[in-house]
C-alpha cells in the first residue's frame, strides 16, 4: 500500500513525529516563538506539563529519561527561555542522558539581527549538546527529529537540541515521518573487539584481587543483570561511581559502595588494593579517582561506548570500546567460574566493621544517615530516589538502599543544585507506580521549590525531603577545611519555614527534629497519596562524609 504524505504545518509535523517516537509527556514553558508548536499539542494525547522555570523542564526530562531509558522531551521559547535551558542540557550531557530539547526561534528573516528574544542557542549550547539542529528548511523537520532521537539514544547517549524559527513552524509541508535515518558520519561501536575480550579474560584469570568499578554506563545500556552475573560467576567485588549507584543491589554481598573523595573508605581501599580493575561504563572522573595512590601495579580493563573516555583520565592496559551490555555478554561467555575467597573475605571484614561503626547516632539533631536508611526501609522496592547536590547528595549516595527495581537519580557530573525536585517530577510522570522521593538541602531546594506548583497543578505525587540547617553545608565544610574556618556566603538566614511554604501550595508535611520522630514521619510521607514534604532539622556541623 502506498503511504500518502500529509499536508500539514511544520508544528503539526513536529507533534506527529513525537507521537511516532512514543512520546507521552512534554515538559515546557511557553513564549511567542514556540506557540505554533504548543498550539498543535492541544490536538495530541501528549501530556504537556507546564513547569515554573525552563531549566526545570530540562531536569524533569532528565529524570523521565533516566527512568525509561529513552529520550524525553523538553521545550522552551527563544531567547531567555532557551538560555535558561542550557544548565539542564549541560547536566544531561555530563551524565549522558538522552534528551530532546526543542526551542522556538525568532523569525528566520530576523536571525542575526538581535531581534526581541533572539539568542543564538545552537551556538550557546554547542559545548553541552551531543548534536544540535537549526531548522531552516521546513521540509527537513521529519528527518531532523528522526536523527535527533537516533543520536540522543544510541552510542553514548546525550542531549540533542532542535531550534525551530516560528515562521518555519507555521509553514505547510508534505509530511511523512521517515522510518529510519542513515547518518554516514555517525556509527557508534556496538560489539567489543574479540581479541581484546580474550585478553581481558586472560587478565582476569591471572588476577588474585580483581575489582569491578561500575559506572552510569551499566544503567544506560541496561547491563545490570550482566554485571551481577559477572560479579557472581567470577566472585568479583563491585564498587560504583556516583552515576553507577543502583547498577547492582546495595545489599548484594559483593557490593562495597561508592568510590572517590566522597565515597566509602572500603571502596577506596579496595581500589588501592586490587591487582585488576575492570572499569565498566565509567569515565574515571577527578572526583572518583583522586584517592587512588597509583595505577602502576594495577592492570586496568576499561569498557566504554565512548572511545574518547579510554585513557582520558587514567591509563588503561586493555581498552574495549562498545556497548557495555553486549561486551559483558561476550566477556561472561569467555570466562570460567572462579573464586577469590582470600581477597573477598579481607574486604568483607572491613565492610562489616564499617557498618557497625557508622551506626551510632547523636541525638540533638536528626541523623541524616538514619533518615536516609529509614526512608529506604519504608519505601516499596519500586522506588526512585533523587538526590540533589551538596551534603544531602553524599548522605544519600552512601546510605541509600536500592534493589533491582529501584533507581537512584542525581546530577553526578555537573553537580547542578536544584536538580532533584524537578527530576523527581519527571521520574514520577515516567513511572506512576514507583514511589518517588526528592532529597534536597535547604540550599538546593530553594533553587527549584517553585516546582511545588507544577506538582500540585498536574497532580504529580512526589515526596520531598528537605534537610535544613540554614547553611550551605558542603561549601561551609569546604571553607572550614580549606579557609581556616572563615565562612562566607554560606549562611541561609532568611530562608522560609518550609512547612509553611508547602502549605502555601496546599501541600502537607511535617517537621522532623529528633531521631525518634523519623519513623512515624517517614510512614506518614510514604502513606500520603499526594505530595508530602518533610522538613528535617540537621546539625550545621554534620559532615558530608560520615566515616
Amino acid at each position: 500500500m502506498q503511504v500518502s504524505k500529509e499536508r500539514v504545518t511544520v508544528a503539526r509535523a513536529m507533534v506527529l513525529a513525537l507521537e511516532h517516537e512514543g512520546i507521552k509527556h512534554i515538559f515546557g514553558y511557553p513564549g511567542a516563538a514556540i506557540c505554533p508548536f504548543f498550539d498543535e499539542l492541544i490536538k495530541s494525547d501528549i501530556q504537556n506539563i507546564l513547569v515554573r522555570h525552563e531549566a526545570n523542564s530540562g531536569h524533569a526530562a532528565s529524570g523521565y529519561a533516566r527512568v525509561t531509558g529513552k529520550p524525553a522531551v523538553c521545550a522552551a521559547t527563544s531567547g531567555p527561555g532557551a538560555t535558561n535551558l542550557i544548565t539542564a542540557i549541560a547536566t544531561a550531557h555530563m551524565d549522558s542522558v538522552p534528551m530532546i530539547a526543542i526551542t522556538g526561534q525568532v523569525l528566520s528573516s530576523q536571525l542575526g539581527r538581535d531581534a526581541f528574544q533572539e539568542a543564538d542557542i545552537t551556538g550557546a549550547a554547542e559545548p553541552f549538546v551531543k548534536h544540535s539542529f537549526l531548522v531552516k528548511n521546513p521540509n527537513d523537520i521529519g528527518e531532523v527529529i528522526k536523527k535527533a532521537f537516533y543520536i540522543a539514544s544510541t552510542g553514548r547517549q546525550g542531549p540533542v537540541l532542535i531550534d525551530v524559527p516560528m515562521d518555519i513552524q507555521k509553514m505547510e509541508i508534505e509530511f511523512e515521518y521517515p522510518e529510519k535515518v542513515e547518518i554516514r558520519s555517525y556509527k557508534p561501536s556496538f560489539f567489543g573487539n574479540k581479541l581484546q575480550i580474550k585478553k581481558a579474560a586472560e587478565a582476569l584469570k591471572n588476577s588474585k584481587k580483581p575489582l569491578i568499578c561500575a559506572g552510569g554506563g551499566i544503567l544506560s545500556s541496561g547491563a545490570c543483570e550482566q554485571l551481577k552475573i559477572l560479579s557472581e560467576k567470577c566472585d568479583i567485588p563491585v564498587i560504583v561511581t556516583m552515576m553507577g549507584i543502583g547498577s547492582i543491589p546495595t545489599n548484594h554481598k559483593n557490593y562495597y559502595g561508592m568510590l572517590g573523595i566522597f565515597g566509602r573508605k572500603i571502596a577506596n581501599q579496595a581500589l588501592n588494593a586490587c591487582d585488576l580493575l575492570i572499569v565498566l561504563g565509567a569515565r574515571m572522573s577527578d572526583r572518583a579517582v583522586t584517592t587512588l595512590a597509583s595505577f602502576d601495579d594495577t592492570t586496568v580493563i576499561h569498557i566504554d561506548v565512548d572511545p574518547a573516555e579510554i585513557g582520558k583520565n587514567a591509563p588503561v592496559n586493555i581498552p574495549i570500546v562498545g556497548d557495555v551490555k553486549t561486551i559483558l555478554e561476550q566477556f561472561i561467555a569467555e570466562v570460567e567460574p572462579m573464586t577469590h575467597d582470600e581477597w573477598q573475605s579481607g574486604l568483607f571484614i572491613n565492610k562489616t566493621d564499617f557498618e557497625a561503626k557508622a551506626n551510632t547516632f547523636q541525638s540533638d539533631y536528626v541523623s541524616p544517615k538514619l533518615m536516609i536508611k529509614s526512608i529506604c526501609k519504608a519505601l516499596p522496592q519500586k522506588r526512585v530516589i533523587c538526590a540533589d547536590v551538596g551534603s544531602n547528595q553524599i548522605w544519600t549516595a552512601n546510605n541509600i538502599e536500592i534493589g533491582e527495581e529501584g533507581k537512584f537519580i542525581t546530577s553526578g557530573g555537573m553537580g547542578t543544585m536544584g536538580f532533584s525536585f524537578p527530576a523527581a517530577i519527571g521520574a514520577k510522570c515516567a513511572d506512576k507506580d514507583a514511589e518517588v522521593v526528592a532529597i534536597c538541602g535547604d540550599g538546593s531546594f530553594q533553587m527549584s521549590f517553585m516546582e511545588l506548583a507544577t506538582a500540585v497543578q498536574h497532580g504529580i505525587n512526589v515526596k520531598i525531603v528537605v534537610f535544613v540547617n540554614n547553611k550551605l553545608g558542603m561549601v561551609r565544610e569546604y571553607q572550614t577545611n580549606n579557609y581556616a574556618g572563615r565562612h562566607t556566603m554560606v549562611d541561609l538566614s532568611g530562608s522560609p519555614d518550609f512547612l509553611k511554604l508547602a502549605e502555601a501550595y496546599g501541600i502537607n508535611g511535617e517537621t522532623v527534629s529528633k531521631n525518634e520522630q523519623i519513623v512515624s514521619a517517614v510512614e506518614n510521607m510514604v502513606n500520603a497519596n499526594e505530595p508530602y514534604l518533610l522538613q528535617v532539622i540537621v546539625d550545621k556541623n554534620e559532615k558530608s562524609l560520615i566515616v
Binding site: 551556538g123 559545548p127 548534536h131 537549526l134 543520536i151 554516514r184 558520519s185 565512548d306 572511545p307 585513557g311
Partner: protein, 163 residues
C-alpha cells in the same frame, strides 16, 4: 610537536564553528587552519596544523570523531605528506629595485602578481619553511603586507583520504 590533521566533514553550516569551538574549549592550539570543498561537494576538508604531545593528539582525534558532522579524521605522518601553503607578499619597490625583485622571483619560483609605481606583490606556493625563507629574502625591501593561507596537505602516492 606539530601535527597535520586532515578532517573530512559534512559541508553544513556551522561545522567550522563546532570544530574551532572544540579546539578552544579543550585547550588544543591551532597553528593553522584551511577549509575547502572536496571532489564530492557534500564534503569539505579541513586541514588543521595543531600543536600538542601524543596524549593531546589522541584526544583531539577522538573528540573530533565524536562530532556528528565529522566523517573522517586522519593525522598524516610528516614523511607521507605533501604540504603547501600560499603567500602573497606586497613589498615596497622603486623602479630601480624592480630588476632585483624579478630575479629573486625567478630564483625562488615565485610569481609577480601585481605591480605599481612603488610596490610589487609576489605570490608563492610552497611548504612552510620555504615560505619563511622567501619572506626573509623580501624583508630588506620593506614588506607592506603579508597574507598567508593555512597549510593544506595531501598524502604522497596513491593513498587518499576519502569517505
Amino acid at each position: 610537536m606539530k601535527h597535520t590533521i586532515s578532517i573530512l566533514v559534512e559541508n553544513n553550516a556551522g561545522v567550522l564553528a563546532r570544530i574551532s569551538g572544540l579546539f578552544a574549549r579543550r585547550g588544543f592550539n591551532i597553528y593553522s587552519l584551511a577549509v575547502g570543498v572536496t571532489e564530492d561537494e557534500s564534503v569539505s576538508r579541513i586541514t588543521i596544523v595543531a600543536d600538542g604531545d601524543d596524549y593531546t593528539l589522541e584526544q583531539i582525534e577522538k573528540q573530533l570523531n565524536k562530532l556528528i558532522d565529522v566523517i573522517k579524521v586522519r593525522t598524516v605522518k610528516p614523511d607521507e605528506l605533501l604540504q603547501r601553503e600560499l603567500v602573497l607578499i606586497k613589498v615596497s619597490c622603486s623602479a630601480q629595485q624592480r630588476h632585483e625583485l624579478i630575479s629573486i622571483a625567478e630564483i625562488t619560483q615565485a610569481k609577480i602578481s601585481d605591480i605599481s609605481v612603488d610596490s610589487m606583490t609576489l605570490e608563492l606556493s610552497a611548504n612552510e619553511s620555504h615560505l619563511n625563507n622567501f619572506q626573509e629574502l623580501l624583508r630588506p625591501y620593506g614588506i607592506k603586507e603579508v597574507v598567508r593561507t593555512g597549510t593544506i596537505a595531501i598524502q604522497k602516492g596513491t593513498a587518499s583520504l576519502r569517505i
